[in-house]
């Protein structure tokens, strides 16, 4: 192999990312769907001839681009080969997709009879069939209700085929879908030309070898970061609320093994797959691991398959992190967030001083509408605090793209029969701590039309974003309707609202979660707390939480308990006024926070004591707080 100089590699790297950025811009330019040209719900990447991810734009949603890294390998299991005039369509979660609405076009670039690159554009289709317009629905129980599964379908590169006719006949908003599909092909062709030009200029061999070097360099870079962590095994759990039909809570368990410069994360023990759209296929957990590792260890590095080489993931079959048919996967972002929680928590045992409190852990899809209009928002929450700084007031977090999550009041009032009564911060929602979690949002929207309905697909309305290193939880997401000054019951299960009938002048209140805090609250400097009160991020009542000494309890481990369970001594339960099934958290002063649902009380224990699963055990002295009473 000819040795390629450093500069050539850097220049080819620059050229490849420039090609991706151009595709990205062209997508916005030429797309017909507002979710693309305004919501940026798409991504473009380049793979080399072996199907390894070599270039991305640095601006895409991590969960969009990472799953593509395994696409070619998986496709080859289905098609031993495909023709140079063919490309592939894919959206199937079980073989590496996200949810069905995200359709990837995988286009091989053939140079000298050899597949040299694959250009991939994954974009969110406004509709992919299924039981309801838009295809995503919180009430589905199996994937067929969410639309069409496209499992590496062979399509001619022209895009014209019987298969496409079948697809377009089975999705809503067909006109947009057809136009967008053909613009994607147009954009890919432009990229193909640039790639061919690049190979002509530098020769195929140089480009190919440079891509290998790019992969090696990013692998070295991430391994270098992992190597700095102490070897060991660290476990933690992330939770989802689930919905009325599933078990509550749903859990994602991550066991991280660090050995020198390699990392293995085992998700065994995560909840079994559910008949609700709270499952993901095999690509998502790995995406989560990489997102968290890269963000905390090397945020400036690029993402390639080289980065992924340093990370191995073990997934249990038929679980919410590796579901099989027919488990629906619409809410993949909720599960991904739970994976993030688990991995961050485990890292919190290794480098608590470098971990932040959690963010909201859900998309917060909120729809108000009639047959005449649909108002749609997905309010962001406050972000987690870290050693050195409070979290940010509601803003897109480090693991999300830059899409706008709330609309302008003046625009809303102009185009919808709605009046925004207030839009501001949600005081006291930031997790307490030496550094406080960022506060969430509170928006009050008055409905001026009759016959409107409210639908909400949110999670983490029960299990709030947790703090770290002694910090407290943020307030959970909360959605409510106020009619004549009274708060109404809008659903059986918090955060899952289906077509609630609104009346004219009802007030819809959206409250997003605050971020988790960092460090012991009593260590918060008085000056900072006073400033919080003056600013109004914390009320007088909220400030009391900083001064009240939380109960410190003895923690014991038990091999037979499930990790979401905790047994309390009756005296402690009485003192905290909690009963079975209530949710409590145990706060370690130098590590992650452990959440357990009370599964039993024991009279015999005279001390104030909590028993938890051995695997989760972190310290035998922890502070205790009550998160939710049922």
């Amino acid at each position: 192999m000819k040795k390629i100089d450093l500069t050539t590699v850097a220049i080819i790297n620059e050229a490849l990312s420039s090609i991706v950025r151009e595709m990205r811009r062209a997508m916005v330019r030429s797309s017909y769907s507002s979710i693309i040209y305004e919501g940026y719900d798409f991504s473009c990447v380049l793979l080399n001839g072996e199907g390894q991810l070599v270039a991305e734009s640095g601006e895409d949603h991590p969960f969009h681009i990472l799953p593509i890294a395994t696409a070619i390998e998986t496709a080859k299991k289905i098609h031993s080969n495909f023709d140079k005039d063919e490309m592939l369509l894919h959206n199937d979660p079980y073989t590496g997709g996200t949810h069905l609405n995200d359709v990837a076009v995988i286009y091989p670039v053939v140079i000298n009879a050899c597949k040299t690159f694959y250009i991939v554009i994954r974009s969110h289709w406004g509709d992919i069939g299924g039981m309801s317009p838009g295809s995503l629905n919180g009430n589905v129980t199996e994937i067929t209700q969410e639309g069409l599964r496209l499992n590496f379908l062979k399509i001619p590169k022209s895009g014209k085929s019987e298969v496409m006719r079948l697809i377009f006949d089975n999705v809503r908003v067909t006109k947009e879908a057809v136009s967008d599909f053909f613009s994607v092909i147009g954009i890919i062709r432009v990229a193909e030309k640039r790639l061919k030009k690049l190979c002509k200029k530098y020769t195929l061999e140089v480009v190919r070898n440079s891509m290998h070097r790019i992969l090696d360099m990013s692998e070295r870079r991430i391994r270098n970061s992992i190597d700095k962590l102490p070897n060991g095994i660290y476990s933690h759990v992330g939770y989802l609320d689930g919905n009325g039909k599933t078990k509550h809570p749903l859990a994602v368990k991550a066991k991280i093994s660090i050995k020198d410069d390699s990392l293995n994360v085992d998700f065994s023990g995560s909840s079994s797959q559910v008949e609700a759209p709270l499952n993901v296929g095999p690509a998502i957990a790995k995406t989560s691991v990489l997102t968290i590792m890269k963000s905390f260890l090397d945020p400036k590095g690029s993402i390639t398959s080289g980065t992924l080489r340093a990370i191995e993931v073990t997934l249990p079959n038929n679980s919410i992190v590796n579901a099989s048919a027919p488990a629906p996967c619409g809410g993949f972002n909720e599960v991904r967030s739970a994976c993030d929680s688990a991995v961050m928590g485990a890292l919190g045992k290794v480098i608590p001083e470098s971990i932040t409190g959690e963010v909201r852990g859900t998309s917060n899809h909120t729809y108000i509408g009639t047959s005449d209009f649909i108002f749609y928002e997905y309010p962001s929450g406050g972000t987690g605090a870290w050693h050195g700084s409070d979290g940010n007031v509601a803003v897109r977090a480090f693991n999300e793209g830059e899409n706008v999550s709330i609309q302008s009041t003046e625009v809303i009032e102009t185009i919808f029969p709605l009046k925004v009564r207030s839009s501001g911060i949600r005081p006291d929602s930031g997790g307490i701590g030496r550094f406080r979690g960022g506060v969430g949002l509170k928006r009050e929207i008055e409905v001026l039309a009759s016959g409107a309905r409210l639908s909400v697909l949110s999670d983490r309305n029960i299990v709030p974003p947790s703090g770290v290193a002694g910090g407290g939880s943020g307030a959970p997401n909360r959605f409510s309707v106020i009619r004549n000054g009274k708060i109404l019951e809008i659903s059986d299960f918090p955060g899952k609202v289906g077509n609630f009938q609104l009346k004219k002048f009802d007030l819809v209140k959206m409250e997003s979660s605050g971020g988790g805090g960092w460090g012991c609250p009593s260590d918060r400097p008085l000056k900072a707390l006073q400033s919080d009160k003056i600013q109004g991020y914390v009320t007088d009542k909220g400030a009391m939480k900083y001064t009240i000494n939380m109960e410190t309890v003895e923690v014991e481990k038990c091999d037979t308990l499930e990790f979401s369970q905790g047994i309390l001594s009756t005296c402690l339960a009485n003192k905290l006024k909690v009963k079975e099934n209530d949710l409590i958290e145990l706060i370690a002063k130098d590590g992650p926070t452990i959440r357990v649902w009370i599964s039993g009380l024991i009279d015999k224990m005279t001390k104030e004591k909590v028993v938890i699963a051995s695997e989760l055990f972190y310290s035998n002295e922890m502070r205790i707080d009550v998160l939710h009473r049922y």
Binding site: R29, S30, S408, E410, G424
Partner: protein, 676 residues
């Protein structure tokens, strides 16, 4: 300079490191340039120092024009005034929350991203009892008593300036105007949102208003100090400041709307490009300005100013009319490094002006692009940079060695790699403003200026297939020169937000005329002669259902069909398609009024010519050292054709002419580099 009947115009550009001054003699068409170090602590002193250095007789100096970053720096360094903000009940946090976006590039994957602080902390944001409904009705009167009480107690604090932004005020500014009246009793600096940006979308409008208020006292003090001194010494001269839109603002306008100067940094350079392009009849040019920490590129098609109306700046949005200039984090001071994976990087980290590149000898230890150019012989050792420092080759080599060793290369090879990667980045930037927006860069000439523009321009041109590079006279002070090429400019907008119909167009025309009248009046209030006033009319339009608008220039009597065609043409260029059959929505209407000044005539300019000797230097390129002739720019007479490889040096910049290129002098004194 002896007393005479000369008429002198002066253009000044206050940069981060240097303050440049260009002097233009209207009668003899002569230019000359001066440079003094900037004084960030008291920028007006640098301006006065430059004026003093130029030694212009007060009897001859008629016009002083200047570009400044005083407001920009105050904003970026958060050194503005202590301000308070008054808004509608329920909306105290609009300024802090925005649309929940980070508004800082390259922050995805950064868990420790700290949102830039709001300009007004929450305790100084107050809610007023008032309601303007969405249709512009005053539903609840402004509680002026409550406001006055608040103002009284605030006046006792150290709050210097106050801002007002009410929901739906763009529909009816009555309450804001009332509030201003009340607040003006207690504060010298009051700014209301509709006077700064009279458009729908409260966050953008409030942000504009709060930024304006934040920089108002500092800007006011600065321009006042400067204009008093100018009036005292140069009695005959008028004084103007360049705005973000590439036009000139009066001192009065700057004091009221200092926001308009925040993005003015690179605007004057683009104005100069447009002016020079017209003069040399080159209708399509790409402006390429390489500075110390960053580079600016802009596309000028058919002599048109590239327009946009939104910039994201450190957690804020600035939504006033501005020039579309794309900035990348690569410049002469960009640091070269090798990362933990072994990959070569150039920028975005920069050595800035302090300590600056290693070769500046001011303590910089890290290798930069400037150091690479010096090592390669493209910049001359001991070459004077702006008459204030000379480059130290040994220090450059030493710095480059630190990464060359890691890469197992010689310093020369490493330097060449750094140069090539930087050029690749410049190419990407040019590609992004041209090819990705539907313009083929090969149909453009590259107009390069800034200290390091001409040094890299030809290499960029070669990569992109551009066949012509233009290096204007005095490239290092081109922005200062640009101030002399700008008209007086004001604009006024109004949100209409309607579906565009024939009928509606009639009332829009009346509204445009109204806006034009207000602008004329506003110029007259400043004492300007409005006999040569020019109006440009702009519509911010979109398809019904879209969220973003395009700016379309229209005539006052434009037909509906023409407007539709123009919009769709612009849409197609921007988005590569049209949505025929969808209706159009008119969001904002805007009138831009300009009053032309007397501009320099470069064609007639004479540049002093000397007979010098061509020197030679070894330049390293593609693994080989070649002896290359070094010309002094003032030695190149119009009959000389220089064949590359060659280098042209002048006080403010160095131009590199590669192999297979030639260089001639154009009519306006510009260097024209052409591919052979």
């Amino acid at each position: 300079m002896p007393k005479s009947d000369k008429k002198i115009f002066v253009g000044i550009d206050v940069g981060g490191t240097f303050t440049d001054l260009v002097l233009y003699d209207l009668k003899n068409y002569e230019f000359c340039a001066f440079k003094v170090p900037s004084m960030p602590e008291s920028p007006e002193k640098a301006v006065l120092a430059a004026l003093n250095k130029a030694k212009v007789s007060p009897d001859n100096l008629y016009l002083i024009l200047h570009g400044t970053t005083v407001a920009t720096n105050a904003l970026l360094e958060r050194k503005g005034a202590k301000i308070a903000f008054f808004t509608t009940e329920g909306f105290r946090d609009v300024l802090e929350v925005g649309r929940t976006t980070r508004l800082v590039p390259r922050t995805l994957y950064d868990p420790f991203f700290k949102r830039p602080k709001p300009l007004v902390s929450r305790e100084y944001r107050f809610e007023c009892s008032e309601t303007i409904s969405v249709d512009g009705k005053s539903e609840k009167k402004l509680d002026e008593k409550q406001l006055e009480e608040l103002a009284i107690s605030l006046a006792k604090t150290n709050v210097e300036a106050v801002a007002v932004g009410f929901i739906n005020s763009y529909k009816n500014a009555k309450h804001e105007i009332q509030a201003k009246k009340t607040l003006s009793k207690f504060f010298d600096f009051v700014s209301i949102s509709t006077e700064v940006l009279n458009e729908i979308r409260e966050f953008e409008r409030f942000a504009a208003c709060s930024i304006n208020t934040y920089v108002m006292p500092i800007m006011s003090k600065y321009t006042e100090a400067l204009s008093i001194e100018i009036k005292r010494v140069w009695k005959k001269s008028n004084f103007y400041t360049v705005g973000s839109h590439g036009g000139l603002l009066s001192t009065d306008a700057v004091s009221r709307e200092p926001l308009r100067t925040i993005l003015s940094g690179p605007a004057a350079g683009v104005a100069a490009c447009v002016h020079l392009a017209r003069e040399i009849k080159c209708r399509n040019v790409i402006a390429f300005d390489v500075g110390g920490t960053s580079s600016d590129v802009a596309l000028i098609a058919n002599y048109g100013f590239p327009l946009k109306n939104e910039t994201i700046l450190e957690g804020m949005v600035i939504k006033t009319p501005q020039l579309d200039i794309h900035t990348i984090g690569a410049g002469g001071g960009s640091i070269a490094s090798i990362d933990a994976g072994g990959a070569l990087q150039v920028g975005p980290e920069s050595a800035g002006s302090n300590p600056g590149p290693a070769s500046y000898g001011k303590g910089g230890k890290l290798p930069t692009l400037t150091d690479a150019n010096l090592i390669l012989g493209r910049l001359g050792p001991k070459q004077e940079m702006g008459n204030s420092l000379s480059l130290d080759e040994i220090k450059a080599f030493r710095a480059m060695k630190s990464i060359a060793e890691t890469a197992n290369l010689s310093e020369m090879e490493m330097a060449e790699g750094v140069l090539k990667l930087a050029v690749a980045k410049f190419c990407t930037a040019v590609h992004e403003i041209s090819a990705t927006r539907g313009f083929d860069p090969r149909n453009f000439a590259l107009m390069s200026y800034g200290g390091a523009g001409p040094l890299h321009a030809a290499l960029v041109a070669v990569e992109l297939g551009i066949k012509k590079v233009i290096v204007p006279p005095i490239p290092g002070a081109f922005s200062a020169l640009g101030t002399l090429c700008s008209p007086l400019k004001k604009d006024l907008a109004k949100t209409v937000l309607v579906e565009l119909t024939e009928k509606r167009l009639i009332s829009v025309k009346l509204e445009l005329e109204q806006l034009a009248k207000s602008l004329t009046k506003s110029f007259e209030n400043e004492g300007q002669n409005t006999s040569k006033i020019n109006f440009e009319f702009q519509f911010d339009m979109r398809y019904v259902g879209q969220a973003h608008e395009l700016i379309v220039k229209v005539g006052i009597e434009e037909t509906m069909l023409n407007i539709k065609n123009m919009f769709e043409k612009a849409f197609k260029l921007e988005y590569g398609r049209t949505d025929q059959g969808r209706n159009l929505e008119l969001v904002n209407i805007r009138v831009v009024a300009t009053i032309p000044m007397i501009y320099p005539k470069w064609q007639k300019a004479t540049f002093e010519q000397k007979e010098g000797r061509v020197k030679y230097r070894k330049v390293f390129s593609d693994g080989r050292k070649t002896k290359v002739p070094i010309w002094s720019r003032e030695d190149i007479s119009p009959d000389i054709e220089i064949i590359g490889p060659a280098i042209v040096e002048e006080m403010s910049a160095t131009t590199v002419i590669p192999k297979d290129w030639k260089c001639v002098v154009g009519k306006a004194g510009e260097l024209i580099l052409l591919q052979i």
